[in-house]
């Protein structure tokens, strides 16, 4: 592109006076802008392609880095070669997306054995997580981090809501408030969860969650579900404070404690004897 424009410019042999007039031409500024924009745009495109080339080139380095991080932080439970031990499952075939979900939400490394890994502050930078993910992905093929178009949250919210009610709500509650599972396990609330982690959970089935493969829910379906969850997060309840979206339990507690409590207070006030 740049070369073509340059040739176009050099291929205009005009006298100096006309050239000067050309520099003063009313459209000169615009032309210059166009040239500038095209030049920077082209340079950017070139630079980014080089960058991509670099990542693939530096991939081995990244995998190496990930391997070191894995050995230092994960291997005590998952084994030096991610073959798994009594304390943790094998990660061969777990894929980059599983690593991104488990480490990216702070669930891994686990603080303690328990019914299930708990959310906690994330222990690594995204670059470190990517390195570990690359290392695990290098062991064997597994689910990869999805392209942006599947986690954009720009799908059909109504379809997503319907899919959510049918596939997810029995554990996560219709409004994504979470719910109880057996033996002290639970389905976490979904407010504020990053779209890539929602996608990752559906694909990799972490903890007690089932896997929703692409045959079960297509990537577009998953994007619709993400769209619905984002809608619920971004649009607070129109009826006022939602009391945790827990349904009739919190409503019942509220009316007994605050509704009836307030009115009993009023009855005491109304029948109080003046001193």
């Amino acid at each position: 592109m740049i070369r073509r424009i340059e040739t176009h410019l050099t291929m205009a042999p005009t006298p100096a006076s006309t050239r000067r007039a050309g520099r003063r031409h009313p459209l000169a500024t615009t032309a210059l802008l166009v040239v500038g924009l095209l030049a920077t745009g082209g340079a950017y495109a070139l630079a980014t392609t080089t960058a991509t080339a670099e990542t693939t080139a530096a991939s081995a380095e990244l995998i190496d880095e990930g391997g070191k991080l894995f050995a230092a932080n994960c291997a005590s439970c998952h084994g030096m070669n991610a073959e798994g031990t009594a304390a943790g499952p094998t990660l061969i075939g777990a894929g980059a997306l599983a690593v991104d979900f488990q480490v990216g939400t702070g669930r891994m490394p686990m603080a303690a054995s328990g019914p299930q890994a708990e959310l906690k502050p994330v222990q690594f930078t995204q670059a470190q997580i990517d390195a570990m993910a690359a290392w695990v992905a290098d062991l064997a093929p597994g689910p990869a981090v999805p392209p942006d178009r599947y986690i954009a949250g720009d799908g059909d919210a109504a379809h997503g809501a319907e899919l959510f009610r049918i596939n997810c709500a029995m554990c996560h509650n219709v409004a994504g408030a979470g719910g109880a599972l057996t033996e002290g396990k639970w389905a976490p609330g979904l407010a504020g969860v990053d779209p890539v982690h929602i996608y990752g959970a559906m694909v990799t089935g972490p903890q007690n969650m089932p896997v929703f493969s692409d045959l079960n829910l297509t990537p577009e379906d998953k994007n619709d579900i993400i769209t619905y969850l984002l809608y619920v997060q971004e649009n607070p309840s129109v009826g006022g404070w939602d009391l945790g979206s827990l349904g009739p339990v919190s409503e019942g507690l509220f009316i007994w404690i605050f509704g009836l409590g307030a009115l009993v207070g009023v009855t005491i006030w109304l029948t109080a004897k003046s001193n």
Partner: protein, 540 residues
């Protein structure tokens, strides 16, 4: 009085103003045609004693009025039709979803109709408050013994009102035809189908088809807006008439006896107070409805028999039934050799709940039979002065509360980081053993409080003033109560266990023995009220 004030006063008496003349003429006009003055005179001079716990029934009454007003608004816009339509309203995550007209119109009330969502929330919050206030009112009546003769019938009518309130609440909960209401109906359907022999027939009769069918919502609508409210209003009417006929109970105090009622007359003070209280109740409900979401039906989506959301619960007043179903141990169901299924996992809770409700309804008659007390009682008892009744009440509350808590077992498990099995087992224990523990502790606490009252009545209370006697001994000075305070502590009835006596055929029947046994259980442990003699001797 000064003489200057007399002329205007007399002129006002002789020549009333135009307004006064009109009022006089109008009231006379009405009275000559309706004899309303008799009613006004009787009602206006009706006395109501003042105690905060006597106003709980009013809370229930006023929230019912709020329910009627907001419910009328909702009927203008709600359409119970089960015709399938595609949602076209403004809530994005439902657009294009097929649903019943009933759910669509409930969503339209929430999103399209001005003030509709507020009215829906007022209606629902007021319904929760209505049943809660009834519950608290019933507890007050129970623990003060205000159900005793002559008020047994009014207790039963109040109980029926409680049942009607639950029925109204449940039919209303089912109307929007969202996922939550459909799940609730499914449980009711399951309970009906568990009834031996007739269950499946009753279910088909009610639903008009295999569950869910399309008949149930319009049928529930008719019940919800016509039959049940009509019965409720009639029962409230009888409840109020009996309240006036029986007169109100009062707590013992100097000048308050079993034969009088001390308090404020209805007109004008009490009526003004009660009218103001209505607006306070209304205001509290509207405030709650303005700031707190209730039943966000748009989250649940249209009813579809396949999904069930986590945290699916009935409204609080049906919770005890839901909890009973959660607590019953598994594997109780079997198929008999004839091929009939016996769903004991549902039947036992169903029968258990009916027995519990029957026990609540019939308790006044039971207690009257056990005590053999045929006197009228107009003095509200302090709970401690009837230890066994109070303990029975505490046991009943524990039983109910354990079932009630079980309805939220999943929420308890997630929010307190417990295992749901642990929660269920703990609540099973609380349901079965808890009432006995509660009974024992409550009875002991009541007796101890009575003993303390007796002690204070006889010896006064500790003044905190320590005095050294000339001999070097330290004593704390006890101060005597004044007569008003002492009255409260010493005026209560003393009961004794009934003697077994042969009847006129000279026989001792089994029921006599049972009755004597129960009577002993009621009154074996008791603290005698302080007598006049004891008080006199204490003074010297």
């Amino acid at each position: 009085m000064s003489t200057t004030a007399t002329p205007p006063a007399s002129s006002a008496e002789t020549a009333p103003g135009r307004g006064m003349r009109f009022t006089g003429w109008a009231s006379n006009y009405v009275d000559e045609r309706t004899s309303a003055s008799t009613a006004v005179k009787a009602l206006g001079r009706k006395i109501f004693p003042d105690h905060w716990s006597f106003m709980l029934g009013e809370v229930a009454l006023y929230s019912f009025i709020v329910i009627l007003l907001s419910g009328t608004f909702l009927t203008f816009f709600f359409d119970p039709s089960m015709t399938e339509v595609e949602y076209s309203g403004s809530y994005v995550p439902l657009q294009g979803i097929p649903m019943s007209v009933a759910y669509h119109s409930a969503l339209d009330i929430s999103f399209e109709i001005r003030g509709g969502l507020l009215m829906r929330q007022v209606h629902h919050w007021a319904a929760l408050l209505f049943v809660a206030a009834i519950g608290l009112h019933m507890l007050r009546v129970f623990f003060t013994g205000a159900f005793r003769k002559p008020r047994e019938f009014n207790w039963v009518i109040g109980f029926l009102l409680f049942v009607m309130a639950m029925a109204l609440g449940f039919t209303g909960y089912s109307l929007p035809d969202d996922l939550l209401s459909g799940n609730g109906l499914r449980i009711i359907d399951g309970m009906i189908k568990a009834v031996p022999v007739a269950g499946a027939w009753i279910s088909y009769l009610l639903f008009g088809d295999e569950f869910p069918g399309t008949d149930i919502i319009p049928r529930l609508y008719v019940l919800h807006i016509m039959l049940l409210p009509a019965i409720t209003i009639a029962l409230i009417g009888i409840h109020m008439v009996l309240l006036i006929v029986n007169k109100h109970t009062q707590f013992a105090a100097p000048g308050r006896t079993n034969d009088n009622v001390v308090g404020a007359p209805v007109l004008p003070a009490f009526a003004a107070k009660a009218g103001g209280f209505f607006f306070i109740v209304f205001g509290v409900i509207v405030l709650i409805a303005s700031f707190f979401t209730i039943n966000p039906i748009w989250n649940y989506g249209p009813y579809d028999p396949s999904p069930v959301s986590a945290g699916t619960q009935p409204d609080w007043y049906i919770g005890f039934a839901d909890g009973a179903l959660r607590l019953i141990p598994p594997n109780l169901d079997f198929v008999d050799p004839l091929g009939y299924t016996w769903a004991f996992g549902v039947l036992i809770p169903l029968v258990g709940l009916l027995v519990f409700l029957a026990a609540v309804a019939l308790y006044p008659f039971f207690e009257a039979w056990v005590t053999g007390d045929r006197r009228e009682h107009h003095i509200a008892e302090r709970p401690r002065n009837a230890p066994v009744r109070t303990a029975i009440g505490a046991a009943g509350i524990t039983f109910y509360a354990a079932l009630w808590a079980a309805a939220s077992s999943d929420i308890i498990a997630t929010h307190f980081r417990l295992s749901i099995e642990g929660v269920i087992h703990a609540l099973q224990f609380a349901t079965v053993v808890g009432p006995f523990i509660a009974f024992f502790i409550t009875k002991r606490v009541c007796l101890a409080l009575q003993r303390k009252d007796r002690e204070i009545a006889l010896h006064g209370f500790e003044s905190g003033r320590v005095v050294r006697l000339p001999g070097g001994e330290y004593i704390e000075v006890h101060e005597q109560l004044d007569d008003f305070e002492r009255w409260r502590l010493v005026s209560f009835d003393e009961y004794q266990p009934l003697m077994i006596r042969p009847n006129d055929q000279g026989k001792i029947t089994v029921s006599q023995r049972v009755r004597a046994g129960l009577s002993r259980w009621f009154f074996e442990d008791r603290i005698a009220p302080v007598t006049m003699n004891e008080l006199e001797s204490q003074k010297h």
